[in-house]
Amino acid sequence: MLRWLIGGGREPQGLAEKSPLQTIGEEQTQNPYTELLVLKAHHDIVRFLVQLDDYRFASAGDDGIVIVWNAQTGEKLLELCGHTQKITAIITFTSLESCEEKNQLILTASADKTVIVWDSNTGRQVQRISCFQSTVKCLTVLQRLDVWLSGGNDLCVWNRKLDLLCKTSHLSDTGITALVEIPKNCVVAAVGKELIIFRLVAPTEGSLGWDILEVKRLLDHQDNILSLVNVNDLSFVTGSHVGELIVWDVLDWTMQAYERNFWDPSLQLDTQQEIRLCQKSNDISIHHFTCDEENVFAAVGRGLYVYNLQMKRVIACQKTAHDSNVLHIDKLPNRQLISCSEDGSVRIWELREKQQLTAEPVPTGFFNMWGFGRVNKQASQPVKKQQENATSCSLELIGDLIGHSSSVEMFLYFEDHGLVTCSADHLIILWKNGQRESGLRSLKLFQKLEENGDLYLAV
């Protein structure tokens, strides 16, 4: 809200600036989210959402509180208080089948240099680890080995009983920003511009203890790596601050593809003040990835790009998808893509295929978000080239969700209950399909009537 107030003053300019932004009117027939529920419990920016099971999720943020919610009713189930500073990472640790107690654990790392393990059913604090030298910035669970890793300035390996198994030496002061598991007991850690591959050595006949070894350092990125995601069994993908997207082979850690098209050097030469403003380097930083079998979806600056792994090129893009940086994107099963951004909005996109038989110019609707005159042409050139031989796709805006008054940090999609978004305005909003909810309510109503014995069905 504040942001909108402050931002309100320069709005007329902003609007002019935003003219390339694709907008959708009030009529959004494909937007199913007609009902929303605002959940207010946090006192500061809510940064993380994590799904616990079919109907529960946990939220965490800068107020150091973790709250467990019911995604169906919006009911606050548990409030986990323990951290004194903001939470930097949250992850769930589901027990293995072999384990007798089926309880799911929530691991939270905080800037107070502790990690707390919670029981997600009772809200009980299982254990608190405070022997860290630095803030833990990322957590990952290796389900197969039944261990979890914490990454800060160093990388530590813990077992379920929260014993420190082994740790690396001090890696860097910036610390590990992202951590991903890859096959052969390896993990990839993003440390600054570098990618470091570690191998975990589990206890065997010979050696009793766990060990973690640095296997390889990959130095191909020119700037800080912001995002690191596993694509499939064969590859993982990284994105950097200057818009480099690199697809790596999981097994031999070699570069499979390199994409820097998001960052068009020609733009830098452009003298137009406005363009330079909006093409600042962070406008092409890759904040987040999401993947499906064939495509990598990247949140690049304010835009969205779809990179096809087979074709090794961008097949669709929406260069100004939002007014401001896109923070999180996710792919829904129904070819829909949802993105949320610092501008406080959530947008729903649909990936539409279209057959490009001829090399005719791309419809203006596709590119007109890109802006004006010359810039438009230049920008579209690489895309045009790629479109020559095969299918191309487009991202069509089918709806936007407006509710948050400040940047939407993250969202979570529930198949049955809709969408949960969290934001810097301290709120969590539950977006629901109004029609479906109405039907569900009717169902419940008649169930209750039946329970009360008030239901008489006409014969």
């Binding site: 909108w4 009902e35 407006i402 948050h404 009717s442 109503l445």
Partner: protein
């Protein structure tokens, strides 16, 4: 005041229209007499009696053993209210009609004084001279220092409107019972404490005396006792006896059944609902109650005093005040309850009745009424409670309370004379079954009072010319009501009140003259207080007073009747199933065992059941007479008393009937309001029309004003329809303006269109300052928003436009509205700018009735099973949706956007219905992705 329209109806023939109006006024004989008191500023609706008080009030009086009846306090405690009304005199009146005066003391055959947990008695009486009618609730409090340990008190609701008292009897009785229960609970506590102190004193005295006796014994060792020693020994013995007596008393007061306490717990609990200020008190009292037994046991340390052998003279000591008699806490709680009662029954009877009917009807639509009705009244909940309590407790009521085992004494005495003054007293003692059905029937019974009551009134008025001086009318005892509803056939009889019945009633009815007392109705609390209260009455008194059964009653009546009539009387009683009580508004009764006979016989036999007793000149005597009757029906002295000096023929009611039946009937029937008027004249009323102080005065005024402003809005703004549609479809309407008062006014006006979420206040925010938040739209459906002129204002507007899909924005300063299109037919009917309705309250009612219609549609839509669930597995969603659409369109006749209104209401209904189960569900914010349009004037 009978003015233009009436006269015009007579004169405006078509011919007259054409001719110039030069005719003189109507001939004298055709002119309608003007309301005689128009000059005095009165109106025809002003009260007819010459009451000296401006509005109803509650009077608490005591029959002090030192000074006799005296008023203690009034509620409201404002001399303006009762004005010149003679409280002292009226206290005398109301205290003199306690038929249930308790018998406390040494009952024959009992060694110790016995405490009787007496039921309260409820009497309705009228005093036509004073123009006052009262519901009188007698109760007895215990005081160790009082004679017989009892202090009779009464609370009276005094009104100038007899019908009000009669028709609100049930409610009055229920409410006063609560107050009484509260007082009595406090009193029991205080009494127990007092007893304990006394016991300690006695114990101490005994030890002192004992040692003294011992010393004396030792001193005169001569083998004989001095007279002094004997005296001491006697004193000691009397102290011992006193100790035993007091211990027994303490045991009795403690043995007051625990269930009883629960009952009063409930009473205080309800006070919590009604009285905010009593909150604290009652919670603590609840606490006290639970720890009651403990409290009895452990009192704070008390230093015993020596009790002198000779107690002080009764008149020397100062009697305890009411507040001392009860705990202060309970006393204040009672006062709170009483002022609640005063508040509750304020205003005109028709207002009370209408609102009661209103509430009753609303209760029937308990699923939908939360949407637009804003009655969140406490008494409603209380009624529910009251309904629920008896049903529960009736199951665990001791069976001994059933009529079979607890024989019903039935004494029907009508004391009356057709000469100059009449005493009509009806006393019926009836153990009521307490079933809920009974109450139901009673209600119908009471509602059938209306015509009778009217007739009574007429009757009285006509005779008012003969009568003069003071008169108190005791028109009936309440216990009879319960008798009335004995059988179903009886109930059915009640409704079509046959003319004969009415006539006979009217005929044999009291005439008013000096010094007559008419008890309109008395009600031993049995009949009306929740079972919880009465079931657990320890039946010390019950057993005694109800000891005589039916047989006894008849026997008693036979005794009363002169010998020559005795046989006939008995005969008639035996084959008379229903006795018509001539004097009592409550009408008639049957013993329920026999089938009622047909109407004519009915009338006659009814009259036979009545024993008429000629007037009693001295009120003193009346009192004695009444008292005796109420206390012990079988008391021979009372019979003697009542019989003495009555000519035999006057005791024959058939005589009564025969002599006056024919002559009076026509008069009874054709007497019209003018008779009322004349009676007013005779009473020389200078009464100000009773100021209508309806309970929800403010809300009433609020409604009126809201309706008026809504009307103005509709007339003024051509885009009122889409704005109202926004409200009805759950889209938040933001009213933006600079002037707070204007915005507030419009918000208030439009709030009548806002559907409610639940039983809480409407989701309306009258005045908010920016920025608005998404939470606000979820919470509020109508917001008055301050327009800020500063640059921040632009931000506000921006934020608003950002959330534009959730809101409609009405800009009062620029007279624009931004909201979705509306093309339905519902709102135009609801808010027609060419409406003929002029008054705000009328418009409000119009809106309410429209909403009731709308709610019923929403209800149908919500609760039609096949509209929401597939009838079989294979049915697709589309089919379901089309079925819904066609239902909304064809069955409910909704067009375009009207559908959304009903759908929204249906969602609210669903939420509400499910909310009743545990688990809170939040209100959700709905939006439709529809384009908005900008409307301008």
């Amino acid at each position: 005041m009978i003015s233009a329209p009436d006269v015009v109806a007579f004169t405006k023939e078509d011919e007259y229209e054409e001719e110039p109006y030069n005719e003189p006024a109507l001939p004298e004989e055709y002119s309608v007499p003007l309301f005689p008191f128009a000059s005095q500023g009165a109106n025809p609706w002003s009260k007819l009696s010459g009451a000296k008080f401006s509005r109803d009030f509650i009077l608490i009086s005591e029959f002090s053993e030192q000074v006799g009846p005296q008023p203690l306090l009034t509620i409201p405690n404002d001399t303006k209210v009762f004005g010149t009304f003679d409280l002292n005199y009226f206290s005398l009146r109301i205290m003199s009609v306690d038929y249930q005066a308790s018998f406390v003391g040494h009952p024959p055959g009992s060694a110790y004084p016995k405490l009787n947990f007496v039921e309260d008695s409820k009497v309705v009486l009228g005093d036509s001279k004073e123009g006052a009618f009262a519901y009188v609730h007698h109760l007895t409090l215990y005081d160790l220092e009082a004679r017989g340990f009892v202090r009779p008190f009464c609370m009276a609701y005094i009104s100038s409107d007899q019908h009000k008292i009669m028709q609100q009897f049930q409610e009055l009785s229920a409410e006063f019972s609560k107050a009484s229960e509260c007082l009595k609970t406090g009193n029991r506590k205080a009494f127990a404490g007092e007893l304990e102190k006394k016991l300690k004193d006695l114990d101490y005295t005994r030890t002192v005396l004992h040692t003294e006796t011992e010393i004396q014994k030792k001193a005169n060792d001569k083998g004989f006792y001095s007279s002094q020693a004997i005296e001491k020994a006697n004193e000691l013995a009397s102290v011992e006896k006193s100790i035993i007596e007091h211990q027994d008393l303490l045991k009795q007061i403690r043995s007051y059944p625990h269930r009883k306490l629960k009952g009063s717990d409930l009473c205080s609990g309800e006070v919590v609902h009604t009285q905010d200020q009593a909150d604290q008190a009652s919670t603590t009292s609840n606490h006290d109650e639970s720890a009651n037994t403990d409290l009895y046991a452990c009192r704070p340390a008390y230093t015993p005093k020596l009790i002198k052998a000779k107690s002080t003279k009764c008149f020397d000591k100062k009697l305890k005040t009411l507040e001392e008699l009860c705990d202060t806490e309970y006393f204040t709680q009672t006062l709170a309850q009483l002022s609640h009662i005063e508040h509750m029954f304020r205003g005109d009877l028709c207002y009370l009745l209408t609102s009661q009917i209103d509430r009753a009807l609303l209760k029937q639509q308990h699923i939908t009424n939360f949407l637009f009705e804003d009655f969140v009244e406490v008494d409603d909940r209380m009624v529910e409670k009251q309904e629920s309590i008896p049903s529960k407790s009736s199951q665990d009521r001791p069976r001994s309370m059933s009529p079979e085992e607890c024989p019903i004494p039935k004494v029907l005495i009508s004391v009356g004379s057709y000469k100059s003054s009449v005493e009509s007293v009806l006393i019926k003692m009836e153990q009521e079954l307490g079933d809920e059905e009974y109450k139901e029937v009673e209600v119908t019974e009471l509602s059938s009072f209306d015509p009778q009551g009217n007739l009574d009134y007429l009757d009285m008025d006509m005779k008012g010319s003969i009568s003069s001086g003071e008169s108190i009318e005791v028109l009936g005892t309440e216990k009879s009501t319960s008798v009335l509803s004995k059988s179903d056939s009886q109930a059915s009889l009640t409704v079509p009140l046959s003319p004969q019945v009415v006539r006979s009633k009217a005929v044999s009815h009291r005439t008013i003259s000096e010094d007559s007392i008419e008890v309109l109705s008395t009600c031993p609390s049995e009949a009306l207080i929740p079972d919880d209260f009465k079931a657990s009455y320890p039946s010390a008194i019950n057993e005694e007073s109800y000891a005589d059964d039916n047989e006894g009653a008849i026997h008693f009546q036979a005794n009363v009747s002169p010998p020559e009539l005795g046989e006939a009387e008995e005969g008639s009683l035996e084959n008379t199933p229903s006795q018509i009580d001539s004097s009592c508004c409550i009408g008639k009764e049957s013993d329920g065992q026999l089938v009622p006979l047909s109407a004519p016989v009915h009338t006659h036999s009814g009259e036979h059941g009545v024993v008429s007793i000629p007037p009693q000149r001295h009120r003193q005597k009346d009192q004695g007479f009444h008292m005796d009757f109420s206390v012990e029906n079988t008391n021979p002295s009372s019979q003697d008393n009542s019989c003495e000096g009555f000519p035999a023929c006057e005791l024959d009611p058939s005589h009564l009937l025969a002599s006056r039946d024919v002559s009076k009937t026509s008069l009874d029937y054709y007497s019209d309001t003018t008779s009322h008027m004349s009676s007013v004249a005779s009473t020389s009323s200078d009464r100000i029309p009773s100021s209508a102080h309806p309970a929800g005065l403010s809300s009433e005024r609020h409604k009126k004003r809201a309706g008026q402003n809504a009307l103005r809005f509709i007339r003024q703004y051509p885009f009122a329809h889409p704005a109202i549609y926004s409200l009805l479809s759950g889209r938040t309407l933001v009213i933006l303006g600079e002037d707070e008062s204007i915005v507030r006014k419009l918000v208030t006006a439009l709030s009548i269109f806002v559907p409610n979420y639940g039983c809480y206040a409407k989701p309306v925010k009258h005045w908010a300052s920016p920025p608005l938040h998404i939470m606000d739209f979820q919470k509020w459906k109508l917001i008055g928003l301050q327009r800020v002129a500063s640059p921040a204002g632009a931000g506000t507007l921006h934020a608003l436009s950002r959330y534009s899909r959730y809101t409609s924005i009405l800009d009062l300063d620029n007279k624009t509205l931004r909201c979705p299109l509306y093309r339905g037919t519902l709102v135009p009917r609801l808010a027609d700018h060419r409406t003929q309705i002029k008054r705000g309250s009328t418009y409000y009612l119009h809106v309410q009735s429209m909403f009731t219609q709308l709610c019923s549609k929403a209800f149908l839509y919500t609760f039609c099973h096949h509209l929401h669930l597939p009838t079989h597995d294979k049915e697709t969603e589309q089919l379901l949706a089309s079925r819904q659409a066609s239902f909304l369109k064809l069955n409910l006749g909704l067009v375009n956007e009207d559908v959304r209104v009903v759908q929204y209401l249906a969602e609210l209904l669903k939420l509400r219905y499910m909310q009743e189960s545990p688990g809170t569900s939040h209100p959700m914010l709905r939006c439709d992705y529809v384009p908005s349009f900008l409307y301008k004037i």
